[in-house]
Amino acid sequence: MRGLRVRAAFMLLVAAVLAVTIAACGGGDDTTTDTSASGDTDTSDNLIASNSDNAKTTITVGSKNFTEEYILGEIYAQGLEAAGYKVDTKLNLGSETIAKKAIEDGQISGYPEYTSTALGSFFTVPADQIPANAEEAYSQAKSKLAGEGLVAYPPTPFADSNAVGTLTSTADELGLTDISDLEGQSEDLVLAGSPECRERIDCLVGLEKNYGLQFKKFTPVDIGLRYTVLDKGDADLSIVFTSDAQLANSDKYTILTDDKELIPSGNVIFIASKKVADEAGPDFGDTIEKVQGNLTLPVIQELNARVDIDKEKPADVAQQYLQESGYIK
């Protein structure tokens, strides 16, 4: 009996706490931000026009499981919605192989992928043979994907790639500017990266083979912790991404230059099933190309910052981007 009463009392307490928090959060959903008077001209031109013909098509936008992908997925999804499509999202596909299979199985219509990843993972193009030029990489990816019934839209302005990151204080202390500067020092340093980094040529394997570096230890961590391990001193070096917010916002972190050009960078291309793309009509591709038009490196870093540092919702951030770019109201 006593156990029951205590349990019930606790439940009431929890319910009360939940009720208070839900009440407190009422009205807090202000997604538009107070930006300075926009200097961009002709934003009204950029508005996506809603086409009622598109309402008969349902598009499911997927994305992989990290911040940048969530934001991109939401940008495309909300853009397509503004164009009049019925849009669903499935923003939890663990890896590119799962995502590609999801397109093939019809679970999603398409998702944003990186040209380097598409070429490297889907078509096992060795890292050193992936074109550094964005257009070349795109056309290679596009033609290979076309062979699998997938259509790839033109690339975003920004490119993202792995990078060897470290605290600026560490870089200064050890005199590190390029990755090659790690020679002779890396044996004392701990490198952190995602578990799969261990076996990737554009990651640890390449660092060991192409740069001839041996590290004291490789520590696998989820990519969400890539800066935390540097902050806490659990690792001296960490595999980060060139489009990370943390690199733009402060001088705390530095990335080492890839002087041997080992690591391919990839612009984002939206990959979709050709069947869905055809059914969806011309607005599909037009909208996709339109909404990504403003995604330069500083802009995507800013959007990443809003999610990673300010912990805003990717959906909100995507909406802000579309509004601030003048694509939606």
Binding site: M11, G224, P298, E324
Partner: protein
């Protein structure tokens, strides 16, 4: 000159600084030293503003647990009733449910992946399988503890074997059965936080999406434990409803 502030954070880190080359219209404030930016232990404001992020996963989690427990309960109960009559079934069923229980949930999800793909089924099947052993064992014990007098009385009244089971034996076995059901339910709520690995969603999804953010971890933890306690309470209340002649026994 940039003046350093506490714990090595540069003064410019705290102030608004946007990437070089960013158009003015895009530049927002980013507080890297606030509760949220600095990953404080629990950021109440953020929790209040973002609570709706957890609503969908919460109900999804509830859905996963409900389906798993109901399915597991039905199967285990049926097996126990059968085994009670045909004792030869006990060792193999106990063995099978035991084996299923030993397979770690993460492994089980990924073993099913080639068969059922990503989604609800891949999560529900292992979660149901985990409930089988405890419910089966407890039901058997409960049925074994039914006083022979009660059965004799029932038979004396002319009940058939089935009627005996459903009207006499099971109700009398209810305390043990429900005890097993409670354990199964609470365990399932906790394990279901891993269901996101199978692509089924649940509270594990928001947890994984920001796995370093302390406020997020705490919210998911509290919600999971609250759900477990809540469902446990429901089962206890159900027991008092079903067996009003008995007092609820402590865990």
């Amino acid at each position: 000159m940039i003046a350093p502030v506490a714990n090595g954070v540069l003064a410019t880190d705290a102030a608004n600084r946007c990437a070089p080359g960013l158009p003015e219209s895009f530049c927002h404030q980013h507080e890297v030293t606030g509760c949220v930016g600095g990953n404080g232990l629990f950021c109440f404001d953020w929790a209040a503003d973002n609570f709706d992020r957890y609503v969908g996963p919460f109900f999804r989690h509830l859905e996963i647990v409900a389906i798993s427990v109901v399915a597991g309960f039905a199967i285990a109960l049926a097996l126990a009733v059968l085994s009670h009559r045909h004792r030869a079934l006990v060792p193999p069923v106990l063995g099978a449910t035991g084996v299923l229980y030993t397979i770690p949930s993460v492994a089980f999800f990924f073993l099913l992946l080639p068969i059922t793909g990503f989604g609800l089924a891949t999560a529900v099947i292992p979660l149901s399988a985990y409930t089988l052993q405890i419910i089966y064992r407890n039901t058997l014990v409960g049925l074994a503890n039914v006083p022979p007098d009660a059965k004799d009385a029932g038979l004396g009244m002319g009940m058939s074997e089935n009627q005996l089971m459903w009207r006499v034996e099971l109700p009398l076995a209810a305390p043990e059965v429900i005890a097993g059901l409670r354990i199964a339910t609470v365990s399932t709520v906790a394990i279901a936080t891993l269901a996101f690995l199978a692509g089924a969603g649940g509270l594990g999804q928001p947890l994984y999406e920001q796995l370093g953010f302390k406020t997020n971890i705490i919210i998911v933890g509290v919600l999971t434990i609250a759900m477990a306690l809540f469902l446990d309470l429901i089962v206890v209340l159900a027991q008092r409803f079903i067996t009003p002649w008995r007092r609820a026994r402590p865990g």
